[in-house]
Symmetry: C2
Subunit: 540 residues, 2 copies
């Protein structure tokens, strides 16, 4: 099996039933083990999960002629119905995914196909239509919203279309500051290859080490440097897509009024309209300087006011991240350790990269001091920076210890931030309380805009029985609260299958009709990612 | 007739057969009259155009019952089949529009309907479907791409839906820095009403005095302050649209990954999918300071290199505008006067507004000096600023004098700017030369992005016979050259009917299929702006 251009060298293959590099898995620190019972009451350690070889799958629904047709396109060594390959492509990395992966009987795609080129992707889609097989596009496998579930819809089988072999920076235009990157290229591979030219993309979501350029585009990702570099949407200036009924190549120029910007139809399309095969992105010279500064505020409200002034003032930090009192207290989501700094109030991390740092920092410092902020030096920011991709490892350890842990996120206008935060926290706490589970809810603001910001929640809970069912109810109640309180159903995790029932609340019935019309036009057989993004019709 | 909330007070009603305030029409300055024969050879003064009352229209195809149905919705005083009203809604303000308006027999819509609210717009659209009447949404009437032609398509009549009564800033959220503005509000009215709160939208296209908020959105407008404030696309954070089959309300939060950004389906939709009735926009405090600085460069190439460095460096001026040698020499498009400053080389205008001006200016000055730029003080920038909305008045005077004058624009990546500029200039010159007409082509860069920039061309020509037919051929050849050389068919003038035949070259056949699918879903009867935006199907 070809595992892509040097990906293995940079980052270990992802643990089959957890996050990331198996070598990095670690036990819970003592401080955390001490703190958890205080927060959540007595924890019951669950049964250990199954081993990979113990996972029981239904037999593959692909027959020999299916495999032969697909092998003609991509080569026999790139079509697999192997047990382990199927398990490794059976979903993403939400907490429900991880809980499911502990079970013996599991759903999985009937096979995995690894095309090498745009043309091979297009041929696979045409073949899928001919064969009556559903296709789940698969990048880094990091979805946390059920976008990778092996749902076959009305079809007789479903394959995972793994894009890892579409890898590499294909072209760099140094004059224009842009690069064409194959969709299956991981974050680290893209940055390593751009760095040869002295350039950086600068998109660092928590999934960075595994997620792919195509996935960033398909799911409208937002990275930790979004205050300085913008969300991924804003970096994309061109796109190439294979659909079952024709190719798309968009983005002739950086500014255009040649009709609606159809690139935006594919950003956020989550594999339901086509498979993104190449993305043209804006790149910038690698910053030569980086300055870190941490802040503390009397409370979240004053910190949020400071962050708002910074976002509206412009020309601020590259990273700005404000933790509320609960998150600050355990510093869990920041540095992967609980109990280190049981400080009071709210805290913030700022990182400055690029030019004019002294001036930007002076301006921001003035704005933050004016709302009661106090600089606390580099320490906390350094810890955040060094551990910023490691949060998911801690979640694995918590789940193994019997502590439910999940994240969710939304966004709203500045004038609605406090009300939305309260509504989400109440929905989470009340939902867990209904089944007698104690919970601990933390929140941070990590993506800011002139008119509003994201809210990212981490929740811990001591669920005694059937955490999948409990979380399904609590999450539904939280989604209802987000919609009722004016938030978006997702700021950067996307829709997948988990949020699809709420999409109509967000974009209205006419909005859903637009998505369905595009889907019918590009994928009339409905082979692409059935059930993801677009809510199932009520009369189905 | 209700002419809207205070519009008449701010800006005079537009001249029926030319640009702007009739009181501002003026003769060509002596310097221009002296220069023109040198550039274009002997000019033949054309026959004067007809007077308004001399225009002959076909009888209105609306019958009494049509008018009665529409009057039930908007009130009898807001449905008109009056001769003058029909002529005033017969098109936009491209040079072909102005040449047509000089003729005796003219096309015109069968009537003009002026709804007051979103609900009235929606009811008008449903009525149009029932009655079998096409609808041309009409904002400020400033289209230069044929978006307002009274084309009825397959329908028995066509009405102009004039949105001037949907006027006013409806809501300001000062904490979030956003405002909801009714779609028919003109630029000056929007700014005047925002100014009461201390806020500015900051969108200043040349059409500013007449164009509307809804038109800015529907046509993906870009304003002169785009370097600082972004193009209009970037200001829009929410939108309300009436379609024949349902309402749309989009933009719950400033950052979202809840599927594709469907706001972008309506930005650039040019009235083909629905009628935009409200736009939620980002606003910012009115800048307290403004600094002007002009520059001269050895040539356009060095100026373009400087402008590129400024755009890629970020944090630069609010306005940056680089004129090539030809435009600098006559300073026509800049200050509305020809022959004032027959200087050598290329010239640029920069305007700084907002915060940190001294630092931004110091940084920009360093970048521009490094490519050979020399500061020339405030003078030329002041002249540009004071005359920046007046270019179209000069065009009227030129046309009256017998000089053909039109503008067109495109955009591309920085690495392709020089090649595209040469290709467009050659297509224009060669096209006019084919009919023995001398021409003079000027160009400027006025909208910059990290990865590229716009190119805006003004062409003068001494056409002896049938300028409409000659221009139609020259423009077609120029569009072909733009596509062949990698440019976009429009940076900010949009598609309308004039560019529709080239849209498929820009977005591909799959892209056109996406637009048609959305159109079929939202407007299955095809009543909205038939023939605009979406190219007519070849098998029609």
């Amino acid at each position: 099996m070809n595992h892509g251009n040097g990906r293995a060298a940079a980052v270990a293959e992802m643990r089959w039933n957890g996050w990331g590099d198996p070598a990095k898995a670690k036990d819970l620190p003592l401080a955390v083990r001490t703190l958890l019972p205080l927060l959540l009451g007595r924890i019951r350690k669950p049964e250990p999960g199954v081993r990979l070889e113990e996972v029981e799958l239904a037999p593959s629904a692909l027959d020999k002629s299916d495999v032969a047709v697909l092998a003609t396109i991509v080569g026999a060594e790139h079509v697999s119905t192997d047990h382990d390959m199927r398990v490794r492509h059976s979903g993403g990395r939400s907490t429900p995914d991880l809980l499911r992966l502990r079970r013996r009987r599991q759903p999985a795609p009937d096979g995995v196909v690894l095309p090498r080129t745009h043309e091979e992707v297009a041929a696979c889609l045409r073949a899928a239509v001919d064969l009556g097989i559903a296709v789940i596009p698969f990048g880094g496998g990091t979805s946390v919203v059920g976008a990778l579930e092996p749902e076959r819809g009305a079809h007789r089988a479903v394959i995972s279309l793994d894009l890892r072999r579409l890898s590499g920076v294909l072209h760099v235009d140094e004059v224009s500051g842009e690069a064409v990157i194959a969709a299956g290229t991981t974050g680290p591979d893209a940055e390593a290859q751009l760095a040869v030219h002295g350039y950086e993309l600068g998109h660092y979501p928590q999934s960075f080490r595994y997620a792919t350029i195509g996935g960033f585009a398909a799911a409208r990702s937002s990275g930790q440097n979004s205050a300085g570099n913008g969300r991924f949407d804003a970096m994309v200036i061109g796109i190439r897509v294979a659909t079952p009924t024709g190719d798309v190549e968009l983005g002739r120029s950086p500014g255009s009024a040649a009709g609606p910007d159809l690139i935006r139809v594919f950003l956020g399309s989550e594999g339901a309209f086509g498979v993104i095969t190449e993305v043209r992105v804006r790149v910038h010279p690698i910053p030569r300087e980086r300055v870190l500064e941490s802040w503390t505020f009397p409370d979240f409200a004053s910190g949020a006011e400071g962050v708002r002034r910074v976002a509206q003032g412009g020309g601020g930090p590259t990273v700005i991240r404000l933790s509320d009192e609960a998150e600050t207290a355990v510093s869990l989501a920041q540095v992967g350790r609980i109990g280190k700094a049981l400080s009071k109030g709210a805290s913030a991390v700022t990182v400055y990269e690029g030019e004019g740092i002294a001036q930007r920092r002076a301006k921001v410092s003035g704005l933050l001091r004016a709302v009661g902020g106090t600089s606390t030096g580099e320490g906390a920011s350094e810890e955040w920076l060094s551990g910023r991709f490691d949060g998911p490892y801690l979640r694995d350890s918590l789940l193994t210890a019997g502590v439910f842990c999940e994240t969710l996120e939304t966004a709203t206008t500045w004038s609605n931030i406090a009300a939305l935060k309260t509504a989400v926290e109440s929905a989470l706490r009340d939902g867990f309380a209904e089944v007698g589970a104690r919970s601990y809810v933390m929140c941070h603001v990590s993506h800011v805009y002139p008119t509003g910001a994201s809210l990212y929640f981490t929740v811990l809970a001591g669920i005694r029985d059937d955490p999948l069912a409990v979380w399904s109810r609590v999450k539904a109640g939280t989604n209802d609260a987000i919609i009722a309180s004016g938030g978006t159903i997702s700021h950067h995790h996307a829709v997948g299958r988990d949020h699809a029932p709420w999409l109509e609340d967000e974009i209205g019935s006419t909005g859903v009709r637009i998505l369905r019309a595009i889907k019918r036009e590009l994928d009339p057989a409905g082979v692409l990612n059935p059930g993801a993004l677009i809510p199932t019709e009520r009369d189905d």
